[in-house]
Amino acid sequence: MKPKVAFFDFASCEGCELQVADLEEELLDLIEIVEVVSFREIMKEHSNNYDIAIVEGSIIRPIDEKRLKKIRRIAKTLVAFGACATIGGVNKIRNPWQPEEVIKEVYGDIDFKDNEFFNVSKAKAVDEVVKVDYYIYGCPPPREEIKKVIIALVMGKKPDIPNYPVCVECKKNENICLFELGKFCLGPIARAGCNAICPTNGRACDGCRGILSEPDTKCVEDILKRYNLTYEEMKHRFTIFNYTLEEDR
């Protein structure tokens, strides 16, 4: 029996699911090994009978929490999918503001008081609401990794997700270190698995797959000095996907 898989989206751009849709002919291989029962981006059918739930997006409203908890009750395995779901991602940038301030900023003076769709709380990663079994990191997640996780679940093994930093992959690609080029890069402390796609193409790592360890403050000061970089530049890098770090400080 093929495991039944359902895709769900919360606050996100649905770009992660688009990565699955973009598997193109490999989608045929996918449906050989799993039965996709729900995936609104590419099919109109929906079923509440599934084994594996793949959840994209951050959880930002009480109604989302309710829906997510229901998914968790049904799914034997729940996978957080993409930066918004795994670490909160860009949605967390608004967390220092009160929800009312944010709504006002975006929608102006319209009164949404009794509208539950606009009843917004702080943005959360999926595992801040329910137990997550496996994570597919990244913004967007690499297609290779999506396939790797799905096949692992089908084979009944724990997916082998890197627990080492982007520098490992970046160095193997023999790139010139972006620090040498005067950019602040999160590569030394951000989770790998992307094959260092950003640094390999000249863009500093934003840590979209999450931060593995926080360096010692003195060390950070030394690094900024050594490479003539500013604190603001570093903070900017952290803020994009890893706002929680600042918040916890």
Partner: protein, 633 residues
């Protein structure tokens, strides 16, 4: 050779030879080894490359085997890529010679060997010294062997020294207008070498003294001071020409085609020593930071007689907090060299070792019988498909391979008496073992091994034996106990005492066999459990395994050997008990668990300081490892 003829030679190689021609090219302000499209790209004036030429012999990612899960078929293809690498600096040539010692030691790595044989090295003397180089201090700025040709660009012309017959033939076939170098030109090479010596940074100690310096400074404050700044990115090991640790993992695509991939690993990474049960053996980043220096400056020198650093300075350039360079570290320690700050003594146990070529290909094994022993452990009887003998010692292990999942080290649990099959008892704990638990009788698995050093049963003859097992430590121990208690061997051994502690009565393994052992003459068996959950009948002891010691009337202890196997925390306490009853240290044997990935002393994961558990262990005489800081935590 004049410059134009040199360019013609290179272009001729690129266009008309069967070799892929690799050379040093510019990448931004740095340099890399990469395929050359024309001689114009070649930059012999480079300082150093980002990655060493190691990548052409031990690639960043390489396919060990391919498989098709739907057919359960394996395909091994070994490509013989013919290459010429132009512009290799002397230090990188020496690094390759060091790598040869490792990859040709005991188990010859076939992948590495084929690449080495099929690659022509055209070295180049250093023209521009990298700002972080200290190659001169490491005696690696010049080299007298290890190349097929060695070139020096002296400006007016290119001087080529022939290193091998192969190099000579290459010249004869692809180069023209070769003239003998004049004395003045040869003098110019000497001047170039002298200028490297004057520009290079100088170590304050002789290279030969580095191991001794490290031996006395295991607890030097520098390890903590520097490691606090370490980002644990392992860039230092990735760019190192002498680092050779690797990981192996299985990758499967959606169409069920898979590959077993070998890739570079780094000992600075927190997961480097992590085993399936979650245990990490070098937890603190200071320990990992120090390990890298000790491996290069003490452990490898003790094993292979060379210092695994050639002074290229790549790690120092790659390290963002700038703490990785051995130059500053060695000089700092050398400054206060009078003082001893933590001595480390170790000797590598001598193990038997022939020479055998390996390509990491598992043999086919068929699961003949499965027996569920507890909720977490199952016994698998394995028969090998080929008819080649499978001889092993009690205490040895095999690498069990499941296609698409990976390999895991599993100790053999049956005595080497029965021919034709052997038994593995497996706790369900990680990916491979979980998968193994879902297999059925008749299913196939892969087996590599047996590996490691087991128990020398001859040595135990005429002795009384004390076995102390904790938890699944009984699994490898059963191989030895069953061997000794077998009717054909029993009269050669004295009194056998078995002390075995489990978590609960439910976790006791081999209960039926234990009852049989107990019935034999001169066999004492004592069992204990940590706790007994309600509703379970248990009339034995409750407490740790150490609490069993007072229960036994020990006799003839002088002539007694003790064998201890259990979880890491157990050893210290049990060894203390053995000391109290008078068992001599040299009569204690232990078997240790670490992350044994390759099984043949290459991948680097299972090291206890400088000792490979997969090769010198897992069975050790206690005196061989008792002074190693990383042996018992």
């Amino acid at each position: 050779m004049n410059r134009e003829d040199w360019a013609d030679f290179i272009n001729n190689l690129i266009n008309n030879s069967t070799y892929e021609v690799i050379g040093v090219k510019a990448k931004g302000k740095r340099f890399i080894f990469a395929p050359l499209e024309s001689a114009d790209e070649l930059r012999l004036d480079y300082d150093t490359t980002i990655l060493p030429p190691k990548k052409y012999f031990l690639p960043q990612y390489e396919n060990l085997l391919s498989f098709d899960l739907s057919k359960q078929s394996v395909n091994i293809e070994m490509k013989e890529e013919k290459r010429i690498i132009i512009g290799v600096h002397p230090y990188d040539i020496i690094a390759l010679q060091q790598m040869d010692k490792v990859y040709f030691d005991t188990y010859i790595d076939r992948f590495y060997k084929i690449r080495r044989e099929n690659t022509i090295i055209i070295g180049s003397n250093i023209l521009n010294v990298s700002e972080r180089s200290f190659a001169t201090s490491m005696k690696a700025h010049t080299v007298t062997s290890g190349y097929d040709l060695m070139v020096t660009d002296i400006g007016s012309s290119i001087i080529i020294e022939i290193g091998t017959e192969r190099g000579k033939k290459l010249m004869e076939r692809y180069a023209t207008n070769i003239t003998d170098a004049t004395e003045a030109e040869i003098k110019k090479i000497e001047e170039i070498v002298e200028s490297i010596e004057s520009k290079d940074r100088k170590l304050k100690v002789d290279k030969e003294n580095i191991p001794n310096l490290l031996k006395r400074n295991y607890e030097h404050p520098i390890w903590r001071e520097l490691s606090e700044k370490c980002l644990q990115c392992s860039s230092c090991t990735i760019v190192c020409p002498t680092c050779y640790c690797f990981d192996i993992r299985d990758e499967v695509s959606l169409d069920l085609q898979g590959k077993r991939i070998r890739t570079w690993d780094g000992c600075l990474l927190p997961d480097f020593t992590r085993i399936a049960s979650g245990e990490v053996f070098r937890k603190d980043k200071t320990e990992r930071f120090r390990h890298r220096f000790y491996r290069k400056g003490l452990y490898i020198p003790e094993r292979y007689n060379f210092i695994a650093c050639i002074g290229c300075g790549r790690c120092s350039i790659a390290c963002i907090p700038d703490i990785a360079g051995p130059f500053n570290v060695i000089n700092k320690i050398a400054e206060d060299s009078e003082e001893t700050r933590g001595e480390i003594i170790f000797e590598i146990p001598v193990t038997r070792g022939g020479e055998e070529e390996t390509a990491y290909i598992p043999r086919n094994g068929i699961i003949r019988r499965i027996e569920k022993l507890t909720e977490f452990e199952k016994l698998f009887e394995i028969e090998l498909e080929d008819s080649i003998d499978f001889n092993y010692q009690p205490g040895q292990f095999v690498e069990v391979s499941i296609l698409g999942v990976g390999e895991a080290p599993i100790s053999i649990s049956s005595p080497p008496i029965k021919k034709g099959s052997f038994e593995l008892v497996v706790r369900r704990v990680g990916n491979v073992t979980n998968k193994l638990h879902t297999l059925r009788e008749g299913d196939k698995i892969g087996i590599r091994g047996p590996f490691g050093r087991g128990f020398d049963v001859k040595k135990f003859e005429g002795k009384n034996l004390i076995f102390v097992a904790g938890g699944i430590g009984i699994i490898p121990m059963r191989s030895l106990i069953s061997f000794i208690l077998d009717d054909s061997n029993r009269d050669r051994y004295g009194i056998v005492t078995i002390l075995y502690g489990s978590k609960t009565p439910r976790d006791i393994l081999f209960m039926d066999e234990i009852k049989e052992w107990e019935k034999k003459e001169d066999v004492i068996v004592k069992l204990t459990v940590d706790t007994c959950p309600e509703g379970i009948c248990w009339d034995g002891c409750i407490g740790l395994v150490t609490s069993l010691f007072p229960e036994v009337k020990w006799q003839d202890i002088e002539n007694t050997v003790a064998i201890v196997i259990g979880p890491p925390v157990m050893y210290k306490f049990v060894i203390k008990c053995l000391d109290t009853i008078g068992v001599k240290e040299e009569n204690i044997y232990v078997s240790l668990e670490r992350r044994m990935k390759c099984g043949i002393g290459k991948c680097g994961h299972c090291q206890i300081n400088g000792i490979y558990v997969c090769k010198e262990g897992p069975v050790f005489n206690y005196t061989e490892i008792k002074d190693l800081p990383e042996a018992f935590e």
